[in-house]
Amino acid sequence: MRAKEKVGIKSYAGYVPRYRITPKEIGKVWGKDGETMGRGLRINSKSVPSPDEDVVTISTQAATWALERSKLDGEDIGAIYVGSESHPYAVKPTATIVGASIGATPLMTAADFEFACKAGTAGFQTCMGLVSSGMMKNGMAIGADTSQGAPGDALEYSAAAGGAAYIIGTEDLLAEINYTCSYTTDTPDFWRREGKKYPSHGGRFTGKPAYFKHITECTRNIMKESATTPEDYDYAVFHQPNGKFPVKIAGKLGFEKEQIEPGLLVTRIGNTYSGAVPLGLASTLDQSEPGDRILVTAYGSGAGCDSFDITVTDSIEDIKNDDIPSIQEVISDEEFITYSIYAKYRDKIEGGR
Protein backbone atom coordinates (compact mmCIF):
# COMPACT_ATOMS: atom_id res chain seq x y z
CA MET A 1 0.00 0.00 0.00
CA ARG A 2 1.32 3.39 -0.94
CA ALA A 3 -0.31 6.69 -0.01
CA LYS A 4 -1.11 9.10 -2.85
CA GLU A 5 0.62 11.89 -0.99
CA LYS A 6 3.97 11.96 0.82
CA VAL A 7 3.39 10.75 4.37
CA GLY A 8 5.59 9.91 7.31
CA ILE A 9 6.85 10.50 10.83
CA LYS A 10 6.92 14.09 12.12
CA SER A 11 7.99 13.23 15.64
CA TYR A 12 8.36 10.34 18.05
CA ALA A 13 9.40 9.51 21.62
CA GLY A 14 9.41 6.48 23.87
CA TYR A 15 9.16 5.69 27.55
CA VAL A 16 10.10 2.60 29.57
CA PRO A 17 9.62 2.28 33.36
CA ARG A 18 12.95 2.19 35.21
CA TYR A 19 12.48 -0.94 37.33
CA ARG A 20 14.12 -4.17 36.14
CA ILE A 21 14.07 -7.79 37.22
CA THR A 22 16.38 -10.55 35.98
CA PRO A 23 15.28 -14.04 34.82
CA LYS A 24 17.58 -15.44 37.53
CA GLU A 25 15.61 -13.61 40.24
CA ILE A 26 12.28 -14.85 38.83
CA GLY A 27 13.53 -18.43 38.51
CA LYS A 28 14.72 -18.51 42.13
CA VAL A 29 11.13 -18.26 43.37
CA TRP A 30 9.88 -21.11 41.20
CA GLY A 31 12.85 -23.41 41.83
CA LYS A 32 13.93 -23.03 38.23
CA ASP A 33 17.26 -22.13 36.67
CA GLY A 34 16.22 -18.66 35.56
CA GLU A 35 19.69 -17.80 34.34
CA THR A 36 19.61 -20.60 31.76
CA MET A 37 16.02 -19.68 30.93
CA GLY A 38 17.11 -16.08 30.33
CA ARG A 39 20.02 -17.20 28.16
CA GLY A 40 17.64 -19.35 26.10
CA LEU A 41 15.29 -16.38 25.59
CA ARG A 42 18.26 -13.98 25.28
CA ILE A 43 16.71 -11.73 27.89
CA ASN A 44 19.07 -10.28 30.52
CA SER A 45 16.41 -8.22 32.30
CA LYS A 46 12.86 -6.99 31.78
CA SER A 47 11.20 -3.70 32.71
CA VAL A 48 8.62 -3.57 35.49
CA PRO A 49 6.15 -0.70 35.93
CA SER A 50 5.93 1.05 39.27
CA PRO A 51 2.51 0.64 41.01
CA ASP A 52 1.57 4.14 39.84
CA GLU A 53 2.30 3.39 36.17
CA ASP A 54 0.03 1.85 33.55
CA VAL A 55 -0.68 2.14 29.82
CA VAL A 56 -2.25 5.58 30.34
CA THR A 57 0.79 7.02 32.13
CA ILE A 58 3.33 5.38 29.78
CA SER A 59 1.40 6.61 26.72
CA THR A 60 1.04 10.10 28.19
CA GLN A 61 4.77 10.44 28.88
CA ALA A 62 5.66 9.28 25.36
CA ALA A 63 2.94 11.52 23.82
CA THR A 64 4.08 14.56 25.84
CA TRP A 65 7.67 14.15 24.68
CA ALA A 66 6.67 13.50 21.05
CA LEU A 67 4.51 16.65 21.06
CA GLU A 68 7.28 18.74 22.66
CA ARG A 69 9.77 17.47 20.09
CA SER A 70 7.41 18.34 17.19
CA LYS A 71 6.87 21.94 18.39
CA LEU A 72 3.16 21.45 17.64
CA ASP A 73 0.39 22.30 20.11
CA GLY A 74 -2.02 19.70 21.47
CA GLU A 75 -4.80 21.28 19.38
CA ASP A 76 -2.88 20.45 16.21
CA ILE A 77 -3.40 16.73 16.80
CA GLY A 78 -6.55 15.52 15.03
CA ALA A 79 -6.52 11.88 16.10
CA ILE A 80 -5.05 9.71 18.84
CA TYR A 81 -5.01 5.92 18.63
CA VAL A 82 -3.55 3.89 21.48
CA GLY A 83 -2.74 0.27 20.70
CA SER A 84 -2.40 -2.01 23.71
CA GLU A 85 -3.57 -5.26 25.24
CA SER A 86 -3.36 -3.86 28.77
CA HIS A 87 -5.59 -0.79 28.71
CA PRO A 88 -6.42 0.09 32.36
CA TYR A 89 -10.14 0.14 31.63
CA ALA A 90 -12.06 -2.56 29.76
CA VAL A 91 -14.49 0.19 28.71
CA LYS A 92 -13.25 3.84 28.77
CA PRO A 93 -10.65 4.68 26.18
CA THR A 94 -7.03 5.28 27.14
CA ALA A 95 -6.81 7.65 24.15
CA THR A 96 -9.27 10.11 25.77
CA ILE A 97 -7.07 10.47 28.87
CA VAL A 98 -3.93 10.86 26.76
CA GLY A 99 -5.77 13.42 24.60
CA ALA A 100 -6.78 15.51 27.62
CA SER A 101 -3.31 15.31 29.15
CA ILE A 102 -1.60 16.73 26.05
CA GLY A 103 -4.29 19.34 25.39
CA ALA A 104 -5.59 17.72 22.20
CA THR A 105 -9.22 17.36 23.37
CA PRO A 106 -12.01 18.09 22.52
CA LEU A 107 -11.80 18.72 18.74
CA MET A 108 -10.24 15.40 17.82
CA THR A 109 -11.10 11.76 17.22
CA ALA A 110 -9.77 8.99 19.46
CA ALA A 111 -9.94 5.24 19.93
CA ASP A 112 -8.11 2.36 21.52
CA PHE A 113 -6.82 -0.39 19.29
CA GLU A 114 -6.22 -4.01 20.16
CA PHE A 115 -4.30 -6.48 17.99
CA ALA A 116 -1.94 -8.22 20.42
CA CYS A 117 1.56 -6.80 19.82
CA LYS A 118 0.84 -4.93 16.59
CA ALA A 119 -1.95 -2.65 17.81
CA GLY A 120 0.46 0.30 17.78
CA THR A 121 1.43 -0.09 14.13
CA ALA A 122 -2.25 -0.51 13.19
CA GLY A 123 -2.54 3.06 14.53
CA PHE A 124 0.31 4.17 12.23
CA GLN A 125 -1.64 2.96 9.19
CA THR A 126 -4.90 4.57 10.31
CA CYS A 127 -3.15 7.91 10.83
CA MET A 128 -1.42 7.57 7.44
CA GLY A 129 -4.84 7.30 5.78
CA LEU A 130 -6.27 10.27 7.65
CA VAL A 131 -3.38 12.63 6.96
CA SER A 132 -2.61 11.61 3.38
CA SER A 133 -6.29 12.01 2.42
CA GLY A 134 -6.15 15.57 3.76
CA MET A 135 -8.79 14.95 6.43
CA MET A 136 -6.39 16.23 9.09
CA LYS A 137 -2.83 17.48 9.36
CA ASN A 138 -1.50 15.36 12.22
CA GLY A 139 -2.44 12.08 13.84
CA MET A 140 -0.84 10.39 16.83
CA ALA A 141 -0.31 6.64 17.05
CA ILE A 142 0.85 5.05 20.28
CA GLY A 143 1.82 1.48 21.12
CA ALA A 144 2.17 0.69 24.84
CA ASP A 145 1.73 -2.22 27.21
CA THR A 146 2.20 -3.36 30.80
CA SER A 147 1.76 -7.01 30.03
CA GLN A 148 1.74 -9.76 32.58
CA GLY A 149 2.61 -13.42 32.44
CA ALA A 150 0.89 -15.71 34.94
CA PRO A 151 3.18 -16.32 37.93
CA GLY A 152 5.39 -19.30 37.10
CA ASP A 153 4.45 -19.27 33.39
CA ALA A 154 7.23 -19.00 30.79
CA LEU A 155 5.82 -15.58 29.82
CA GLU A 156 6.69 -14.24 33.28
CA TYR A 157 10.36 -14.15 32.22
CA SER A 158 9.70 -11.81 29.30
CA ALA A 159 6.44 -9.82 29.75
CA ALA A 160 7.48 -6.20 30.27
CA ALA A 161 6.28 -2.59 30.09
CA GLY A 162 6.96 0.37 27.79
CA GLY A 163 5.65 2.32 24.85
CA ALA A 164 6.29 4.91 22.16
CA ALA A 165 4.27 7.66 20.49
CA TYR A 166 4.49 8.84 16.87
CA ILE A 167 3.07 11.90 15.19
CA ILE A 168 2.15 11.06 11.60
CA GLY A 169 1.77 13.83 9.04
CA THR A 170 2.57 14.94 5.50
CA GLU A 171 4.93 17.89 6.09
CA ASP A 172 8.13 18.50 8.08
CA LEU A 173 8.89 14.79 8.20
CA LEU A 174 11.79 13.19 10.06
CA ALA A 175 11.20 10.06 8.01
CA GLU A 176 9.02 9.24 5.02
CA ILE A 177 6.95 6.08 4.97
CA ASN A 178 7.31 4.89 1.37
CA TYR A 179 5.18 1.77 1.63
CA THR A 180 3.20 -0.19 4.16
CA CYS A 181 1.55 -3.59 3.88
CA SER A 182 -0.15 -6.08 6.15
CA TYR A 183 -0.69 -9.82 6.32
CA THR A 184 -3.58 -11.17 8.35
CA THR A 185 -4.88 -14.69 9.16
CA ASP A 186 -7.07 -16.33 11.80
CA THR A 187 -4.38 -18.08 13.89
CA PRO A 188 -5.08 -18.81 17.59
CA ASP A 189 -1.47 -18.75 18.84
CA PHE A 190 -2.03 -16.46 21.85
CA TRP A 191 -5.16 -14.99 23.39
CA ARG A 192 -6.77 -13.65 26.53
CA ARG A 193 -10.48 -14.09 27.16
CA GLU A 194 -12.54 -11.18 28.50
CA GLY A 195 -12.24 -10.94 32.29
CA LYS A 196 -9.18 -13.18 32.54
CA LYS A 197 -6.08 -11.73 34.16
CA TYR A 198 -3.46 -13.60 32.19
CA PRO A 199 -3.16 -14.65 28.57
CA SER A 200 -3.11 -18.21 27.30
CA HIS A 201 -0.89 -19.43 24.52
CA GLY A 202 -0.41 -22.39 22.26
CA GLY A 203 3.08 -23.11 23.61
CA ARG A 204 5.40 -24.17 20.81
CA PHE A 205 2.67 -23.28 18.36
CA THR A 206 3.58 -19.59 18.77
CA GLY A 207 6.77 -20.04 16.76
CA LYS A 208 6.76 -21.51 13.29
CA PRO A 209 3.22 -21.09 11.86
CA ALA A 210 2.62 -17.82 13.69
CA TYR A 211 5.56 -15.45 14.25
CA PHE A 212 7.93 -16.82 11.60
CA LYS A 213 5.41 -17.45 8.83
CA HIS A 214 3.62 -14.11 9.17
CA ILE A 215 6.77 -11.98 9.40
CA THR A 216 8.33 -13.81 6.46
CA GLU A 217 5.27 -13.33 4.24
CA CYS A 218 4.68 -9.69 5.16
CA THR A 219 8.34 -8.66 4.91
CA ARG A 220 8.76 -10.41 1.53
CA ASN A 221 5.60 -8.67 0.35
CA ILE A 222 6.78 -5.18 1.22
CA MET A 223 10.18 -5.80 -0.36
CA LYS A 224 8.36 -6.94 -3.51
CA GLU A 225 6.09 -3.86 -3.49
CA SER A 226 8.97 -1.46 -2.93
CA ALA A 227 11.35 -3.46 -5.21
CA THR A 228 14.03 -3.75 -2.53
CA THR A 229 16.31 -6.44 -1.11
CA PRO A 230 17.75 -6.63 2.44
CA GLU A 231 20.94 -4.91 1.20
CA ASP A 232 18.93 -1.77 0.38
CA TYR A 233 18.22 -1.23 4.09
CA ASP A 234 20.53 0.28 6.65
CA TYR A 235 18.38 -1.04 9.49
CA ALA A 236 15.55 -3.44 10.18
CA VAL A 237 13.20 -3.76 13.14
CA PHE A 238 11.22 -6.96 13.80
CA HIS A 239 8.82 -7.76 16.60
CA GLN A 240 10.81 -9.05 19.56
CA PRO A 241 8.94 -11.34 21.99
CA ASN A 242 12.39 -12.56 23.10
CA GLY A 243 15.95 -12.01 21.92
CA LYS A 244 16.06 -15.18 19.86
CA PHE A 245 13.16 -14.82 17.40
CA PRO A 246 14.11 -11.46 15.80
CA VAL A 247 17.72 -12.59 15.26
CA LYS A 248 16.52 -15.84 13.68
CA ILE A 249 13.92 -14.21 11.40
CA ALA A 250 16.40 -11.51 10.34
CA GLY A 251 18.92 -14.18 9.32
CA LYS A 252 16.29 -16.17 7.50
CA LEU A 253 15.20 -13.12 5.49
CA GLY A 254 18.80 -12.20 4.61
CA PHE A 255 19.44 -9.34 7.05
CA GLU A 256 22.71 -8.99 8.96
CA LYS A 257 22.94 -8.76 12.73
CA GLU A 258 24.25 -5.16 12.48
CA GLN A 259 21.05 -4.07 10.72
CA ILE A 260 18.80 -5.10 13.63
CA GLU A 261 21.17 -4.19 16.47
CA PRO A 262 20.00 -0.56 17.15
CA GLY A 263 16.35 -1.64 17.42
CA LEU A 264 16.89 -4.79 19.47
CA LEU A 265 15.87 -3.67 22.96
CA VAL A 266 14.32 -6.91 24.21
CA THR A 267 17.55 -8.20 25.76
CA ARG A 268 17.55 -5.27 28.22
CA ILE A 269 13.87 -4.44 28.72
CA GLY A 270 12.00 -7.64 27.82
CA ASN A 271 8.96 -7.95 25.57
CA THR A 272 6.99 -4.71 25.66
CA TYR A 273 4.25 -6.15 23.40
CA SER A 274 2.52 -3.26 21.56
CA GLY A 275 5.44 -1.07 22.62
CA ALA A 276 8.12 -3.36 21.17
CA VAL A 277 8.29 -2.33 17.51
CA PRO A 278 7.47 1.36 18.15
CA LEU A 279 10.30 1.48 20.73
CA GLY A 280 12.67 -0.49 18.47
CA LEU A 281 11.97 1.89 15.59
CA ALA A 282 12.44 4.91 17.86
CA SER A 283 15.81 3.62 19.02
CA THR A 284 16.80 3.00 15.38
CA LEU A 285 15.68 6.52 14.33
CA ASP A 286 17.74 7.94 17.23
CA GLN A 287 20.85 6.42 15.67
CA SER A 288 20.01 6.99 12.00
CA GLU A 289 21.41 9.49 9.49
CA PRO A 290 19.70 11.34 6.63
CA GLY A 291 18.99 8.99 3.73
CA ASP A 292 19.02 5.81 5.83
CA ARG A 293 16.39 3.26 4.89
CA ILE A 294 14.62 1.21 7.56
CA LEU A 295 12.45 -1.87 7.17
CA VAL A 296 9.94 -2.52 9.96
CA THR A 297 7.71 -5.55 10.55
CA ALA A 298 5.46 -5.74 13.60
CA TYR A 299 3.76 -8.99 14.55
CA GLY A 300 0.58 -9.44 16.56
CA SER A 301 -0.78 -12.79 17.68
CA GLY A 302 -4.13 -13.80 16.40
CA ALA A 303 -2.44 -13.16 13.90
CA GLY A 304 -1.04 -10.51 11.62
CA CYS A 305 1.86 -8.31 10.56
CA ASP A 306 2.30 -4.68 9.51
CA SER A 307 5.41 -3.82 7.49
CA PHE A 308 6.80 -0.36 6.71
CA ASP A 309 9.47 0.80 4.29
CA ILE A 310 10.90 4.04 5.70
CA THR A 311 13.47 6.59 4.49
CA VAL A 312 15.02 9.01 6.99
CA THR A 313 15.07 12.69 5.91
CA ASP A 314 17.61 15.48 6.54
CA SER A 315 15.40 16.80 9.38
CA ILE A 316 16.54 13.93 11.61
CA GLU A 317 19.62 16.07 12.34
CA ASP A 318 17.44 18.77 13.90
CA ILE A 319 16.25 16.56 16.75
CA LYS A 320 19.56 14.96 17.67
CA ASN A 321 20.39 17.54 20.31
CA ASP A 322 16.92 18.46 21.51
CA ASP A 323 15.79 18.08 25.14
CA ILE A 324 13.83 14.90 24.54
CA PRO A 325 15.61 11.84 25.94
CA SER A 326 16.75 9.22 23.44
CA ILE A 327 15.58 5.63 23.91
CA GLN A 328 19.09 4.68 25.08
CA GLU A 329 18.96 7.48 27.67
CA VAL A 330 15.53 6.35 28.86
CA ILE A 331 16.45 2.69 29.23
CA SER A 332 19.84 3.29 30.80
CA ASP A 333 18.07 4.63 33.91
CA GLU A 334 17.47 1.27 35.56
CA GLU A 335 16.93 -0.04 39.08
CA PHE A 336 16.96 -3.77 39.73
CA ILE A 337 14.34 -5.12 42.13
CA THR A 338 13.80 -8.40 43.96
CA TYR A 339 10.96 -10.83 43.26
CA SER A 340 9.15 -9.78 46.44
CA ILE A 341 9.05 -6.14 45.36
CA TYR A 342 8.07 -7.29 41.87
CA ALA A 343 5.22 -9.42 43.27
CA LYS A 344 4.02 -6.48 45.39
CA TYR A 345 4.03 -4.19 42.34
CA ARG A 346 2.34 -6.78 40.13
CA ASP A 347 -0.43 -7.51 42.60
CA LYS A 348 -1.14 -3.81 42.88
CA ILE A 349 -1.41 -3.61 39.12
CA GLU A 350 -3.80 -6.55 39.06
CA GLY A 351 -5.84 -5.01 41.87
CA GLY A 352 -6.47 -2.04 39.63
CA ARG A 353 -7.86 -4.08 36.80
Binding site: D52, E53, V56, T57, T60, P88, I97, S101, D333, G352
Partner: protein, 133 residues
Protein backbone atom coordinates in the same frame (compact mmCIF):
# COMPACT_ATOMS: atom_id res chain seq x y z
CA UNK B 1 -13.25 12.60 46.26
CA UNK B 2 -16.46 12.57 44.27
CA UNK B 3 -16.46 12.01 40.54
CA UNK B 4 -17.89 15.39 39.43
CA UNK B 5 -15.29 17.34 41.41
CA UNK B 6 -12.62 15.25 39.80
CA UNK B 7 -13.94 16.11 36.36
CA UNK B 8 -13.67 19.83 36.99
CA UNK B 9 -10.06 19.51 38.05
CA UNK B 10 -8.93 17.30 35.18
CA UNK B 11 -7.18 19.99 33.14
CA UNK B 12 -5.32 21.23 36.22
CA UNK B 13 -4.30 17.82 37.40
CA UNK B 14 -3.19 16.42 34.06
CA UNK B 15 -1.63 19.37 32.37
CA UNK B 16 -0.61 21.79 35.06
CA UNK B 17 -2.87 24.58 33.86
CA UNK B 18 -2.30 27.59 36.09
CA UNK B 19 -3.18 31.26 35.69
CA UNK B 20 -1.08 34.31 34.99
CA UNK B 21 -1.92 37.80 36.24
CA UNK B 22 -1.78 40.14 33.24
CA UNK B 23 -1.04 43.07 35.53
CA UNK B 24 2.16 41.81 37.19
CA UNK B 25 2.87 38.60 35.18
CA UNK B 26 2.94 36.42 38.32
CA UNK B 27 1.90 32.83 37.72
CA UNK B 28 -0.28 30.84 40.12
CA UNK B 29 -0.84 27.15 40.45
CA UNK B 30 -3.40 25.97 41.41
CA UNK B 31 -5.31 28.77 39.66
CA UNK B 32 -6.64 31.72 41.71
CA UNK B 33 -9.51 34.06 40.97
CA UNK B 34 -7.54 37.19 41.80
CA UNK B 35 -3.85 38.07 42.15
CA UNK B 36 -2.98 38.65 45.84
CA UNK B 37 -0.46 41.32 44.81
CA UNK B 38 -2.60 43.31 42.43
CA UNK B 39 -5.99 42.54 43.97
CA UNK B 40 -8.62 44.74 42.25
CA UNK B 41 -6.30 45.51 39.35
CA UNK B 42 -6.27 41.82 38.46
CA UNK B 43 -10.06 41.51 38.12
CA UNK B 44 -10.82 39.83 34.80
CA UNK B 45 -7.12 39.74 33.98
CA UNK B 46 -6.21 36.28 35.26
CA UNK B 47 -5.51 34.25 32.13
CA UNK B 48 -5.00 30.50 31.76
CA UNK B 49 -1.36 29.50 31.50
CA UNK B 50 0.11 26.11 30.75
CA UNK B 51 3.15 25.49 32.91
CA UNK B 52 6.39 24.09 31.46
CA UNK B 53 6.34 21.33 34.05
CA UNK B 54 10.04 21.81 34.78
CA UNK B 55 11.67 23.08 37.93
CA UNK B 56 14.23 22.64 40.70
CA UNK B 57 13.88 21.07 44.12
CA UNK B 58 13.72 23.59 46.98
CA UNK B 59 13.07 21.18 49.83
CA UNK B 60 11.96 17.61 50.36
CA UNK B 61 11.03 15.11 53.04
CA UNK B 62 10.52 11.40 53.48
CA UNK B 63 7.00 10.36 54.47
CA UNK B 64 6.67 7.20 56.56
CA UNK B 65 3.00 7.48 57.54
CA UNK B 66 1.29 7.04 54.23
CA UNK B 67 -1.91 8.33 52.83
CA UNK B 68 -3.84 5.02 52.38
CA UNK B 69 -3.61 5.27 48.57
CA UNK B 70 0.19 5.42 48.73
CA UNK B 71 0.68 2.34 50.91
CA UNK B 72 2.47 0.51 48.08
CA UNK B 73 5.01 3.27 47.64
CA UNK B 74 5.87 3.92 51.29
CA UNK B 75 8.16 5.41 52.38
CA UNK B 76 7.79 8.09 49.75
CA UNK B 77 9.21 11.54 49.11
CA UNK B 78 7.28 14.82 49.06
CA UNK B 79 9.09 17.75 47.47
CA UNK B 80 8.48 21.46 47.03
CA UNK B 81 9.87 22.71 43.75
CA UNK B 82 10.36 26.12 42.18
CA UNK B 83 9.08 25.92 38.65
CA UNK B 84 10.53 27.81 35.67
CA UNK B 85 7.58 30.21 35.93
CA UNK B 86 8.58 31.12 39.53
CA UNK B 87 5.67 29.26 41.00
CA UNK B 88 6.03 26.69 43.75
CA UNK B 89 4.56 23.25 43.46
CA UNK B 90 4.33 20.49 46.04
CA UNK B 91 4.34 16.96 44.74
CA UNK B 92 5.14 13.34 45.24
CA UNK B 93 8.72 12.74 43.95
CA UNK B 94 9.13 9.28 42.43
CA UNK B 95 11.65 7.14 40.50
CA UNK B 96 14.52 8.15 42.78
CA UNK B 97 15.95 6.94 46.10
CA UNK B 98 15.74 9.38 49.00
CA UNK B 99 19.55 9.25 49.39
CA UNK B 100 20.02 10.49 45.83
CA UNK B 101 17.77 13.57 46.13
CA UNK B 102 19.60 16.91 46.27
CA UNK B 103 18.30 20.46 46.63
CA UNK B 104 18.50 22.25 43.28
CA UNK B 105 18.06 18.99 41.38
CA UNK B 106 16.14 19.36 38.12
CA UNK B 107 12.80 17.61 38.09
CA UNK B 108 9.78 17.58 35.83
CA UNK B 109 6.11 16.83 36.08
CA UNK B 110 4.85 13.51 34.79
CA UNK B 111 1.43 11.88 34.89
CA UNK B 112 0.93 8.92 37.23
CA UNK B 113 -1.90 7.00 38.85
CA UNK B 114 -2.87 8.72 42.08
CA UNK B 115 -5.44 6.19 43.21
CA UNK B 116 -8.86 4.89 42.43
CA UNK B 117 -12.41 5.47 43.59
CA UNK B 118 -12.72 1.73 44.34
CA UNK B 119 -11.68 -1.44 42.49
CA UNK B 120 -14.77 -0.93 40.33
CA UNK B 121 -14.60 2.86 40.21
CA UNK B 122 -12.70 5.38 38.14
CA UNK B 123 -8.92 5.64 38.26
CA UNK B 124 -7.46 8.98 39.31
CA UNK B 125 -4.53 10.30 37.32
CA UNK B 126 -2.51 13.37 38.12
CA UNK B 127 0.93 14.84 38.30
CA UNK B 128 3.94 13.57 40.20
CA UNK B 129 7.54 14.72 40.01
CA UNK B 130 10.42 12.75 38.48
CA UNK B 131 14.12 13.56 37.95
CA UNK B 132 14.81 14.92 34.44
CA UNK B 133 16.13 12.08 32.24
Amino acid sequence: MTTPRFWREIEQRYRGIGVQCENCSRVYFPPREICPHCRRKSFGRMKEKELSGKGKILTYTKVHEPHPEYKMLTPYIMAIIEMEENVRLTGHLVDIDYEDVKPGMEVEVTMRRLGEESPKGIIYYGYKLVPVK
